[in-house]
């Protein structure tokens, strides 16, 4: 029973939980309920990945209506992996949320907060599960609207501006996507992705199809914060509550990258990209994004904003692989999708633990804290090393595949950019490390600051250890990614 409806349950469970959590009394009950749901969803996502990891495809017909008329959930290795990232990060973030949320958000908003969190989870999981492009838009809106609310709950007043900024940009992105979908529907009369992919090749030359493609690309480039459409991201990440920053940084952009992959490879086909200058534009924007955003990151005075700019740069790495459109390139994208969730999750959690203790994320205020919070400090070091791509961490595996993909293309310029990007990462990571380790001018300011509580440390360290584990054992990441790429790029070897 559960197995057959697994794909649907993953989405429906948090969806049903959202209103229930909203009517629960404030206190720890909403948290407990959401956490339980996230654990259940995580377990189901694991099961789901396990059942498609051999190359199977699950097709689930919603309400028994056969596709292409009904909505189809179509699961292969690619979206099962992304669903696992989303569910896994939610299951790690929610235990962490208890203390962090109690500190940062007024008690009377707790049940609404967790309710919005459940909705956001529903939206992100729905996007990954669905095989229907309009249904995808619906879930996109569910996740976006709940995200705006969640960001707005941040402890500073700027959080409202940040949420508003994201609202505007996000809505433009979503509208663009919807316009694209509408044009596709007008031309093909279908919304099912498989069906679309069968009908589109015949129409590929048609101006309307190309326009639809352009709208969808720009719309999602906004959602995934591809340079230069990233302007909403630094503020959103900086002012959102710590928990939300962790969750968004590790999942939201990843889901958007996944949609990009799906739309490009499964719906339109990479040939459309190759025939137009799209791939060159992608590569150019990625290169600029990687270099410029890394420099921006170096100059930030706020640790969350620093990591946010680093995220924009890292999105450049993910899109590079996509721009190559080769087996190695897309494998690199999928692997980095997973690994970046681990490293940024760990880093934002560690920073969140510092915010929990000193109430600020400004780098100046963190001077010399390494002595008082050694475990948090160590988490930042290891997460940072993974971000740099030091061997033995997950980040190294990403970099390995990315550089290899670029070498395979004989694109030495991009090889250089990736490596320079890593060196810039050394600079901004070390800015944090040095501050925590050395400066002790205002030593007295930290008198009595203790290590973060275990409820924050344990989830952080689960992610930190995952960074090391997936740096040494790549069976899950590379294995699944290769499986996914086989389905995304059939016929290419």
């Amino acid at each position: 029973m559960i197995e057959t409806h697994l794909s649907l349950l993953i989405v429906v469970l948090p969806l049903l939980a959202a209103p229930l959590v909203a009517i629960l009394p404030n206190g720890r009950l909403p948290w407990a309920a959401s956490t339980l749901v996230s654990f259940a969803v995580f377990a189901m996502a694991c099961l789901q990945l396990f059942s498609v990891s051999t190359g199977n495809i699950i097709s689930y017909e919603l309400g028994g209506w056969a596709p292409p008329w009904g909505i189809e959930y179509r699961i292969d290795a690619a979206n099962a992996l992304v669903a696992l990232i989303v569910a896994g990060i939610a299951a790690i973030t929610l235990p962490y949320a208890l203390l962090s949320v109690e500190k940062e958000i007024p008690a009377k908003q707790h049940s609404l907060f967790y309710s919005a969190f459940m909705l956001c989870l529903t939206g992100l999981l729905g996007i990954t599960q669905t095989g229907d492009i309009f249904n995808l838009f619906v879930f996109l809106e569910i996740s976006s609207l709940s995200t705006y609310a969640l960001i707005g709950l941040g402890r500073k007043r700027q959080a409202l501006t940040a949420a508003y900024q994201y609202l505007i940009m996000g809505t433009i992105g979503a509208t663009f996507f919807l316009i694209g979908v509408g044009l596709l529907y007008a031309m093909t009369g279908t919304l099912n992705m498989v069906d679309l992919s069968e009908r589109l090749p015949a129409l590929a030359e048609h101006r309307t199809i190309q326009t639809a493609f352009a709208f969808i690309m720009v719309g999602f480039a906004l959602k995934l914060a591809l340079f230069p459409l990233h302007l909403w991201l630094p503020n959103a990440y900086t002012y959102a509550p710590s928990v939300i920053t962790v969750f968004l940084a590790a999942t939201a952009t990843k889901v958007a990258v996944y949609v990009m992959l799906r739309v490009i490879f499964s719906v339109f086909g990479f040939s459309l990209i190759e025939d137009t200058p799209t791939d060159e534009i992608f590569l150019l924007l990625c290169v600029m994004g990687i270099l410029m955003m890394s420099f921006y990151a170096i100059n930030q005075q706020d640790s969350k904003r620093l990591l946010a700019y680093s995220s924009v740069a890292q999105i450049g790495y993910m899109m590079l692989g996509l721009g190559f459109g080769t087996v190695l390139g897309v494998t690199a994208t999928m692997v980095h999708l997973f690994n970046h969730a681990l490293m940024k999750g760990a880093l934002f959690m560690a920073v969140g633990a510092i915010v929990y203790r000193i109430g600020s994320s400004r780098i100046d205020n963190m001077a010399g804290l390494g002595k008082h919070m050694p475990w948090t400090f160590a988490a930042i070091i290891i997460g940072g090393l993974s971000l740099i791509g030091v061997p033995g961490t997950a980040g190294f595996i990403s970099k390995w595949y990315l550089v290899l993909a670029a070498i395979e293309q004989q694109n030495w310029f991009i090889v250089g950019v990736i490596l320079i990007g890593s060196l810039l990462a050394v600079v901004y990571v070390w800015k944090l490390v040095e501050t925590l380790y050395f400066k002790s001018a205002n030593e007295n300011a930290h008198a009595g600051i203790k290590e973060a509580p275990l409820m924050l440390l344990v989830p952080t360290w689960i992610l930190v250890l995952a960074n090391i584990y997936f740096g040494l054992n790549t069976e899950l990441t590379v294995g699944t990614a290769e499986q996914a790429v086989k389905l995304l790029l059939p016929g290419v070897q």
């Binding site: 061997p391 595996i397 970099k399 290899l404 490596l419 890593s422 050394v426 040095e434 040494l472 790549t474």
Partner: protein, 490 residues
């Protein structure tokens, strides 16, 4: 391969890590902590020595740990050069620990527990480098060594240490990520393997300008070999406490650099391929230039540790020069020099630290007549200096002899001239120190109110001086290891 030698290989890396854990646990009790450090270092020495007969018998025990990327495992293979390097590091760690205990206590250094932990991790990485069975494994431990030595370089936590730490990390990480990693990936792309194999793996896969670029990426990617202009991190690292300079920045870290270069030339490129291709002459020139330039800079340094640091840069390039002569005998010289320079230079650093501990002097101009107040220290210093110059009866003579023989064999006139010129320069910057220490009169009264350094320090530096002499008189084992590297015969 039998299980026990495989376990022993893993144990060489685990023992220092285990020591690190024990040091954490006993951090509050300095005596217990320091005794454990000594015991762990002796245990490591015993483990490494137990592997020696196996390698001398011509076997190459190997073990595969886990596959990181399909077809690319973490793998250890114990071959003669790695054995030699592991022996040198394992032999010097107990002596250095003894010295550290004397030095750190006498100078009342802070954070001693952290110091010993990082030291142990660095040693574990060194063992990993020595036994690495492919380039990926080598790279992993190479980076680990950089990172674990960073807290040692910045140990004092002052602004100067912070700046030096930036130079240290900046140069070592940017070369390794920018060049070394790229070279490794390129090799993987070209050959589909990263294994160290006798005769190399690149033969027939790369030629012409591409070969030169790849060689450039390897040679400069290994920043630890301190080939100019990538040498600046080494003088910067001298802000560290002297035991760090002694074992890490005269032995483990820098030797890991030249060791990697030798290993890549012998097992990745292959001597034959480089000889035929003519693509490697420029490295010979750069190495020669580094030897001479660094020696001349050393000549101008008044700070003793800085002079030793520049001397190290110059001596490292001997190894690079020797290997790029591309003759079997000079390869023997390169391998031997890794050991010979290690023993000599650690003695010199020990002596510098001993002088600092006893008299708080750091400059050469302050050393007039110090030999009479610190006879043991300066006697050991003199032996170390003789070895640097390459005079018998010290180990330095031996390695230089083989280098010269190789150069004659390959008819590399340039290399011969460089070795001779630099020998004169070495003499020019070491003899005055020895002369001042023994024959000049102290100028100030304040110079003479100290005696010899504490006994652990003296014992340590006498042992390494003794090793420098012993290597000259009993070179059989290292020689056999070095010769089986390329199958050379004198």
């Amino acid at each position: 391969m039998d299980m026990s030698s495989q376990n022993m290989i893993i144990l060489t890396m685990l023992l220092p890590l285990l020591a690190a854990v024990l040091i954490v646990l006993t951090g509050k009790k300095p005596n217990l902590r320091d005794s454990l450090s000594i015991i762990a270092s002796l245990a490591l020495l015993a483990t490494v020595l137990s592997l020696l007969p196996i390698v001398l018998a011509g076997e190459q025990p190997s073990i595969i740990l886990l596959e990181i990327v399909p077809g690319l495992p973490i793998k250890f293979v114990l071959e003669p050069l790695g054995m030699l390097f592991a022996c040198v590091a394992a032999l010097l760690w107990p002596i250095n620990t003894l010295y550290s205990i004397g030095y750190m206590r006498a100078n009342k250094e802070q954070h001693q527990t952290r110091f010993y932990i990082c030291f142990a991790i660095a040693l574990s990485s060194t063992m990993g480098i020595a036994m690495a069975g492919n380039l990926l494994t080598l790279f992993i431990f190479y980076e680990l060594l950089t990172l674990s030595t960073y807290p040692l370089v910045t140990h004092t936590g002052t602004d100067a240490a912070l700046k030096a730490g930036r130079v240290y990390l900046g140069i070592l990480l940017s070369t390794s990520i920018g060049f070394f990693l790229l070279a490794i990936l390129w090799t993987w792309h070209l050959t589909g393997t990263l294994d160290f194999k006798a005769g190399g793996i690149l033969s027939g896969k790369v030629a012409g300008p591409e070969l030169i670029i790849l060689l450039f990426l390897f040679v400069y990617g290994i920043g630890k070999a301190a080939l100019m202009p990538m040498h600046r991190w080494l003088p910067a690292a001298m802000v560290a406490p002297t035991p760090v300079s002694a074992l890490l920045h005269a032995v483990a870290v820098v030797k890991a650099g030249v060791f990697s270069v030798v290993k890549i030339v012998v097992y990745i490129f292959g001597l034959d391929m480089l000889t035929l291709s003519d693509g490697s002459d420029w490295v010979l020139w750069i190495a020669g230039l580094t030897i001479l330039t660094a020696s001349m800079i050393a000549l101008q340094q008044d700070n003793l540790k800085r002079r030793l640091a520049y001397s190290t840069i110059s001596q490292l390039s001997y190894v690079v020069l020797a290997i790029f002569i591309l003759a079997p005998l000079s390869t023997v010289g390169a391998a031997l020099h890794i050991a010979a320079h290690a023993f000599g230079k650690i003695t010199l650093f020990f002596a510098a630290g001993s002088i600092y501990t006893a008299s708080h002097k750091t400059n050469i101009s302050q050393l007039n007549g110090i030999g009479y107040r610190m006879p043991w220290t300066m006697a050991a210093f003199s032996i170390g200096a003789l070895s640097m110059i390459g005079l018998p009866p010290t180990a330095g003579f031996l390695s230089k002899w083989y280098m010269l023989m190789g150069a004659f064999q390959a008819e590399q006139l340039i290399a011969i001239l460089i070795i001779i010129a630099s020998t004169l320069l070495n003499a020019a910057y070491f003899i005055p120190i020895i002369y001042a220490a023994w024959f000049k009169q102290p100028t100030q009264d304040s110079d003479i109110n100290h005696a010899e350094a504490p006994w652990p320090i003296v014992l340590a530096l006498m042992s390494t001086a003794l090793l420098t002499l012993l290597l000259f008189f009993f070179p059989d084992v290292p020689l056999q290891l070095a010769m089986s590297l390329t199958g050379a015969h004198p």
